[in-house]
């Protein structure tokens, strides 16, 4: 019937050279089976994770000429407003020895990290629907890679903090060296809720309208514009269970040192909540990710 260019066909059918099957792994696809090699899979896909994160960063800073400036300007202006509202207008006192602006900015940095990860992650799977529907990879890579983008923004904002410290001639203590640890804690604290929200957003597309509301609300619930030491002692522990509170307090402790002592029971409570949310978030994400391609 059809004119068959026989050489192509012959070429394709030519016998395969024998290959040792030893280094080849056998994959079994079955309902609920994908789980077993989950973490191993994640490791094999680390390059994709890196390149997706790099793509998001590259695009973010390429598209807007003022990309870097924007990452710096936003937290800076928020800091100015918060300082004016809480310190100048509402007359909230800073702890002795700490400029109020630095107190606010040290709280704003982890908060911005948290809110950026939450909002960017929530829409990330839907934004990458064409990938999810066409290629396999552990889905968790996509929301997780938005955390790296948020970290780049964070680094830019951190530079401003340094500039402010110079401006106020504020000398930090050795605790500043612990900041990386709290950055990691901040990312973990954000990922738990972010994974929940990401998975929910695939199923319920109008969930994304709730996110900005949560973030706006959270900005005042979290001790960003004020220090958590203003909370009445009786409520302090319960207040500290908010995972963001632990991160912000820890951050302030690093930056301001003695003038912002760490409230330990609350801090450990906060850590426990972070861990719990992370475990639940990952578990929920994994349970639902198998159906993402069918929903998206």
């Amino acid at each position: 019937m059809t004119a068959v260019p026989t050489e192509t066909k012959a070429a394709i059918r030519a016998p395969a050279p024998a290959r040792p099957p030893a280094h080849r792994r056998t994959l079994v696809l079955e309902r609920g089976r994908a789980d077993r090699r989950y973490w191993l899979d994640l490791w094999t896909y680390r390059e994709l994770f890196a390149i997706l994160a790099w793509r998001d960063v590259a695009v973010r800073y390429k598209q807007t000429v003022v990309g870097v400036a924007w990452a710096a300007l936003r937290p800076f202006l928020t800091m100015v407003i918060m300082t004016v509202v809480f310190h100048v207008v509402a007359k909230v006192k800073a702890p002795p020895g700490a400029p109020y602006a630095i107190l606010v900015f040290a709280g704003l940095l982890p908060w911005t990290l948290f809110s950026t990860i939450l909002s960017e992650a929530s829409g990330s799977l839907v934004a990458n629907a064409n990938l999810v529907g066409k290629v396999y990879f552990p889905r968790i890579i996509i929301p997780a890679s938005t955390a790296l983008v948020a970290l780049v923004d964070f680094a830019v904002a951190l530079a401003i903090l340094v500039a402010m410290m110079v401006w106020y001639r504020f000398v930090p203590s050795w605790r500043l060296l612990l900041i990386p640890g709290f950055v990691v804690l901040g990312v973990l604290a954000s990922l738990g809720p972010a994974l929940f929200v990401t998975a929910l957003n695939v199923k319920y597309r109008d969930f994304r309208y709730i996110i900005p509301f949560i973030i706006q609300f959270g900005l005042y619930l979290a001790p960003v514009g004020y220090s958590s030491s203003v909370i009445p002692a009786a409520w302090r522990f319960w207040y500290s269970l908010n995972p963001v509170v632990g991160v912000i307090d820890g951050f302030r402790w690093c930056v301001l040192g003695g003038s912002s002592p760490l409230y330990l029971p609350g801090f450990f409570g906060s850590l426990a909540v972070v861990a719990l949310l992370l475990v639940l978030g990952v578990a929920y994400f994994r349970r639902t990710e198998r159906t993402f391609a069918d929903l998206i």
Binding site: M1, I12, A14, P15, R33, K203
Partner: protein, 438 residues
């Protein structure tokens, strides 16, 4: 034969077609909440009135795949065919791990790469170079592998000069070429290809097929190929699996598979016609069926280029035929109308017949090999349409050795018009109109 590289056993994939799921592509939380509040309210009302609450509207299961089993040996090139909705894409999605099966299992003994769509993940803001790395990793290549093949990929696509330009400034042809080129350099043990070769210009398609064939033969790569272009399946594959309603309908040599598929298609047309008749009640004269027939009188849609063929149109006539026209037109699948034939209806349908069949004999050798469809219309003498059916009875003119057979993948037109070459009797002086001479 050695251990199969892919083994599927009792594979099934179920989707829930709830009442909601059919209407909405995804669920909105607001709807879910609204619905459950309403349901609770209704239920409470029913109980208050002493009535049993009605059963919940149950979501209906739909099996996109059911009991699918096959084995594929290493190095085999298998075509998967079937009409739309037969489960081809679902099968490929399971094999490439995009979605998991609802039942059964697949054992795969190698790395699977799927080419489900060319340029998946291309980002317009990034440069060609950056996109090669991005797209390569998405398709499953390692960074080192991409680096090694980078020059080859770029020169294969022919975009060397623009490799550091953002892809948004590329012409669409360049984008497709670059994307193809990345894909063509994948070297997994199993390659899953879904219709990707349908895009891009023919010249480049040919180059890609050649490249894939070459890599296959050298490395014994297994290929699963899904396409509606039966000619391409025939050309590439040695074995065909026909899916029908989510089940394996046939599994065997590719030409037998294609034949089986086409018989199934013809069968479906009959089914449709009966349903159609009811729907066409309102037409005074209705076109109930359009088919192509070979010279030997078989209803087929693959017609040899050098044989005459017939277009047969069935009509249901409930009004006068006098003064009305019947037209049949051929549309090329590349777009554009090739030709039209018109006749007075009274010349081909006897007055008073309710069911009539009209045949149109088409001369061979003029319609160029390629894919076409038919548009059929019954009109008043004023050309006011009584009934029009468009895009009917898709058929292909198959090249079994025309003068243009060597140019199968080149768009050389839709007609083979006899022409005669000879050295011109009095050669034109080679000088002034140089452009014309070229």
């Amino acid at each position: 034969m050695a251990e199969p590289i892919i083994r599927a056993e009792g594979l099934g994939k179920m989707y829930m077609l709830g009442q909601a799921a059919q209407r909405e592509r995804y669920t909105a939380l607001r709807d879910v909440l609204g619905r459950s509040v309403r349901n609770v309210g209704r239920r409470a009302l029913d109980i208050a009135r002493g009535r049993a609450p009605p059963a919940r509207p149950r979501a209906e299961p739909f099996w996109a795949l059911k009991d699918v089993g096959f084995e594929i040996a290493e190095g085999e090139v298998v075509g998967v065919i079937g009409r739309n909705g037969a489960g081809k894409s679902t099968l490929l999605k399971i094999l490439s791990r995009i979605t998991e099966p609802s039942e059964g299992r697949v054992t795969i003994g190698g790395r699977v790469a799927s080419l489900l769509e060319v340029g998946t993940g291309f980002h317009p803001e990034l440069t060609g170079r950056e996109n090669v790395f991005l797209n390569g990793s998405i398709l499953g290549m390692s960074h080192g592998e991409i680096q090694r093949k980078f020059d080859e990929i770029v020169s294969f696509a022919g975009v060397e000069r623009f490799i550091d330009t953002p892809v948004k400034r590329y012409s669409s042809g360049m984008q497709v070429r670059l994307a193809f080129s990345v894909a063509a350099h994948l070297e997994p043990e199993i390659l899953v290809v879904d219709e990707v070769l349908a895009v891009g210009d023919a010249e480049f398609q040919k180059k890609c097929l050649g490249k894939m064939g070459e890599v296959s033969s050298r490395e014994g790569r297994t290929v699963l190929f899904v396409s509606h272009q039966l000619g391409m399946v025939q050309r590439l594959c040695s074995r065909g699996i026909v899916l029908s309603h989510g089940r394996v309908d046939f599994d065997g040599p590719v030409s037998a598979a294609i034949e089986r598929h086409m018989t199934a298609m013809a069968h479906r047309q009959t089914e449709d016609d009966e349903r159609l008749l009811a729907a066409l009640g309102g037409y005074e004269i209705a076109i109930t069926r359009v088919e192509t027939f070979s010279a030997s009188g078989q209803a087929i849609d693959q017609l040899p280029w050098d044989q005459p063929f017939q277009v047969r149109v069935r009509l249901r006539v409930r009004g006068p035929v006098a003064g009305r026209l019947l037209g049949v037109a051929v549309d090329s699948h590349r777009g554009g109308r090739v030709t039209t034939w018109v006749t007075d209806l009274a010349d081909v349908v006897a007055a008073g017949d309710e069911h009539a069949e009209v045949a149109l004999e088409v001369a061979p050798g003029i319609l160029a090999p390629g894919a076409y469809s038919l548009a059929v219309a019954v009109t008043e003498a004023s050309l006011a349409v009584i009934h029009l059916r468009d895009g009917e009875s898709p058929f292909a003119i198959v090249d079994t050795g025309s003068a243009m057979a060597a140019f199968t993948n080149v768009d050389y037109g839709v007609a083979l018009i006899p022409g005669k070459w000879s050295p011109a009797a009095s050669p034109v002086p080679s000088d002034p109109p140089a452009a014309a001479a070229e």
